[in-house]
């Protein structure tokens, strides 16, 4: 492994900065994790199983689906297929971040990718766009803080499952929506060409419903994002607005 060219002190500082960057999402991780853990417990899983799932699967929407499918005793293969399609969107997130980690070894890239979530992706993409780079220790700090909070939230939810009213789940789940709205606004704010980014966000929201009706819920997010991004690319080319080349400047670092 290569030694960080800025020295160990700088690496440690970046790691801590990454942990701090995760703080605004902690409320979200704890509340979504809490409701994911509680729902899995209600579905019949033990606290140990919930803890294991939060560490191995580590995906909010995926864990909700596992809980509901386990509750109805679905076949193992059908759960695998459902989760695979739902989590396929990580391909896009991972591909987006790849240019920021161009100089990284395979092992380190694997480490970062293995803890990739929608939320850490959102924080990292905003930071990458603002600063033009995403240091490895920073990403590690962000990832580990999120991972730990997710585990805590899940276990707390599993332990408290029998004590909380079902209506509370609805409020808790909204933390996710609030977080993504905040991340979209930050992403748009830091973009070089805001208009197309805003248009792309609005179009994605509009297209999700028809796409869902057409191809079903599991694939909807991936297909909508891919499709809308192509439309936005075409529109930005057609109006010949100078598009940003943030990815190449990130690689130059």
């Amino acid at each position: 492994m290569s030694v960080d060219r800025h020295g160990p002190d700088s690496a440690r500082r970046q790691f801590i900065e990454g942990c701090v960057a995760c703080v605004p999402t902690v409320v979200g991780y704890l509340s979504i994790g809490f409701s994911a853990g509680a729902m899995a417990r209600v579905a019949g899983m033990s606290v140990t199983e919930v803890a294991l799932m939060s560490l191995v699967l580590y995906a909010g929407s995926g864990q909700f689906i596992v809980a509901s499918m386990v509750q109805s005793h679905a076949a193992v293969l059908s759960v695998w297929v459902a989760i695979f399609f739902v989590n396929l969107r990580h391909l896009l997130l991972s591909a987006y971040l790849a240019p920021y980690f161009k100089q990284l070894s395979g092992l380190r890239s694997f480490l970062i990718g293995s803890q990739l979530t929608d939320e850490t992706f959102g924080v990292a993409s905003v930071s990458g766009q603002e600063r033009g780079r995403v240091p490895f220790p920073w990403m590690l700090g962000l990832n580990l803080t999120a991972y730990l909070n997710w585990l805590i939230g899940n276990v707390a939810g599993a332990l408290a499952a029998t004590l909380i009213p079902a209506s509370m789940f609805r409020s808790l789940q909204f933390a996710l929506v609030a977080m993504f709205i905040g991340l979209i606004v930050l992403q748009v704010t830091s973009a070089r060409v805001r208009r197309t980014q805003i248009a792309a966000a609005v179009l994605a929201m509009v297209l999700l419903l028809p796409v869902t009706l057409l191809i079903g819920k599991n694939f909807a997010v991936v297909v909508t994002a891919v499709l809308t991004s192509f439309i936005a690319l075409g529109a930005s080319r057609w109006t010949s607005t100078p598009t940003s080349s943030k990815s190449s400047s990130a690689a130059a670092h």
Binding site: V70, I83, V177, M179, I181, L209, T243
Partner: protein
Amino acid sequence: MDIDPYILQVIVGCGALTLLPRVLPLVLLNRFNLPKWYQDWLSFIPVTVMAALVAQQLLPSEAGWTSRWPELAASAACLACAIASRSLFLTVACGIAAITAFNYLS
């Protein structure tokens, strides 16, 4: 350790199938210089993925759109708060406060 074999199979399999799309692009795309149009296309991925995720949470339930009004109203409050504050933390705090209030009213 109370782990059911069925649950263990589900968890391990799902974990492995989630790991692949998480890791493969980061590990493989590291080596290539990708074309400009692809990089421009990628620049829209964060907002389109996150907007689609938000829309998915706000889709009408079986009871129709009206049952979603607390979520829709709280989302509007979140959006206003995010634009005004540019703070992720305040946006999430505002969202939780708003949804709790609106759920109480509904």
